[in-house]
């Protein structure tokens, strides 16, 4: 049933998607696909492993990057330092989610009165999406403490978090904004026609729908933020990357870098799978809703 303002993907789109994913499901036709996928994966990785391990420099690389003893001895310290990454991530994320929503709402304010606010929000988002993260961290982390502001912490971790919040708020506000704009104007008309004010409409009708739609891209930005906590290490805060650098400098063996990398991956993979699961669930729900 085609209703005005109905933006669900049509059956053709859904069909194409499910065909793409067919190889992953069980089911009669799928079993052969799984077997083929498995075989081609094994062949592919066999070739890659063969090529790498038979390269001329492999014995040297294995010793300096994949040393089991180095790995075991560096893991406790790096894992302990990694707690700082998790802490930076958790604190920054809370502020990012709040500030980004504010920026997105400011950008959606209508009318000429709010032009200065809208312009500021746009300038902010443009600026902090344009400057490389590492530069913002360096400038704030080395510059801001030198101001010797009263009642403001001078710790590098603090300023690292501020820099990450500034950068990621700009990104996440764009994600929120896309969500707000994806809610059909007829929803606002319906809410306003019932006598709800603009703010009430935003709070009860627009934002709940907008946020629900952008959860997958939001989680994607979470993953980016988790990785970028390593950049705070350049300020001297001993997080996982900095700790692995210290270890590397001490032993001239690069295995600690790999240790740190594995820790980051171990944290982001569950989040990535969770994001996929959310996307799939959302699609399932919309499709079952479309039948009713």
């Amino acid at each position: 049933m085609a209703v005005e303002g109905d933006r669900r993907p049509g059956p053709e789109v859904a069909g194409r998607r499910s065909k793409l994913l067919a190889g992953w499901g069980p089911g009669g036709d799928g079993r052969r696909s799984v077997a083929i996928a498995l075989l081609s994966t094994i062949v592919f990785f066999a070739i890659v492993v063969f090529a790498v391990t038979h390269s001329p420099g492999w014995p040297e690389v294995r010793k300096t990057f994949f040393d089991w003893g180095e790995f075991r001895s560096s893991l406790p310290e790096i894992a302990s330092a990694f707690k700082l990454n998790v802490k930076i991530f958790c604190i920054a994320e809370v502020f990012i989610l709040i500030f980004a929503l504010l920026i997105a709402v400011i950008r959606s304010l209508p009318g000429p009165v709010f032009f200065p606010l809208r312009a500021l929000a746009i300038a902010y988002a443009d600026f902090f999406r344009g400057v490389p993260t590492i530069l913002v961290i360096a400038i704030l982390g080395f510059g801001a403490p030198a101001l010797q502001l009263k009642h403001v912490p001078t710790s590098t971790t603090f300023w690292g978090i501020v820099a990450l919040v500034l950068i990621y708020t700009a990104y996440v506000s764009e994600v929120y904004r896309a969500g707000i704009e994806s809610v059909h104007p007829s929803q606002e008309a319906a809410a306003r026609s019932l006598g709800l004010s603009r703010a009430q409409t935003l709070r009860h009708v627009i934002l709940p729908q907008a946020v629900r739609r952008v959860i997958p891209p939001l989680l994607n930005d979470f993953i980016g933020l988790q990785k970028d906590t390593a950049l705070v290490g350049i300020l001297g805060a001993v997080e996982a990357f900095k700790q692995s650098e210290i270890d590397t400098d001490a032993t001239f063996n690069y295995t600690p870098y790999v240790t740190a990398a594995l820790l980051f991956v171990a944290l982001t993979i569950p989040l990535a799978r969770f994001t996929d699961w959310l996307i799939a669930r959302d699609r399932r729900r919309r499709q079952s809703g479309g039948v009713a």
Partner: protein, 248 residues
């Protein structure tokens, strides 16, 4: 006679396009007025202007003695007195049926949750929807969704209901249940302005039928007169096309 609604010389322009070109309409309390006319004749725009979703370009609209198009009028307060139901239902998809109905009484009228829910359940029961109260709109048929949308508007206890082609998006077999609800509202004395393409329904329910053509009310009168012996050639042409399409 008390006028529930007076539309006085209303014009509405979208850029260069003039959709309403001087509408005059008076609706008495408890009266049911049907607006008929081709798509683009201005029926929907007129209803949206009365609900202040669209600001008028010129003219006045008076609801129960208050000029709602005057400067400085609180639009939210005006809209609470006027219910509007749209062609595409526009239910809130993230809320249950019950919450769809109680949101506005709670947020805009300041009713307590329990008070609003008691009222909502009473209305839902009256229109045979009580068992759907915890469903989400996506799980309902179009007819059920539209009935919920009507209940949602009624929960604000409006003095005036505006219905904008409320059956046009429905599968034919679902139209009857929605028309039944409107019949019941009319029987209860609700003042209504109904834009519709359902001519036999308009003939049955309307106290007065207005034929809109190119942004003006070209002809109005009792349904028997408009449908049986229209005076204006344009009205005759329009109705002849409807008959030819098998819609009357």
């Amino acid at each position: 006679m008390n006028e529930a609604l007076v539309v006085d010389g209303v014009h509405k322009r979208f850029g260069k396009l003039e959709v309403l070109r001087g509408i005059d309409l008076e609706v008495a309390e408890h009266e049911v007025v049907c607006l008929i006319g081709a798509s683009g004749s201005g029926k929907s725009t007129l209803l949206r202007c009365v609900n202040l979703i669209e600001p008028v370009s010129a003219g006045r609209i008076v609801v129960a003695g208050e000029e709602i198009t005057a400067r400085g009028v609180d639009v939210n307060r005006v809209r609470r007195r006027i219910g509007i139901v749209f062609q595409a239902f526009n239910l809130f998809p993230h809320m249950s049926v019950l919450r769809n109905v109680t949101l506005s009484p709670c947020a805009a009228l300041g009713q307590s949750r329990s008070e609003a829910e008691a009222n909502a359940i009473e209305l839902l029961e009256r229109f045979g929807l009580a068992d759907k109260r915890n469903e989400y709109p996506d799980r309902l048929s179009g007819g059920q969704q539209q009935r919920v949308a009507i209940v949602r508007a009624l929960a604000m206890r409006p003095e005036l209901m505006l219905l904008d082609e409320v059956t046009s998006a429905l599968d034919p077999e679902l139209v009857a249940e929605v028309l039944e609800v409107i019949r019941e509202l009319a029987a209860g004395g609700m003042t209504m302005v109904i834009a519709t393409h359902e001519m036999s329904f308009a003939r049955e329910i309307a106290n007065r039928v207005c034929f809109l053509d190119d942004g003006v009310i070209l002809e109005q009168g009792p349904p028997e007169q408009i449908f049986s012996s229209p005076r204006e050639p344009r009205t005759q042409q329009f109705l002849a096309r409807i008959v030819a399409a098998g819609r009357m």
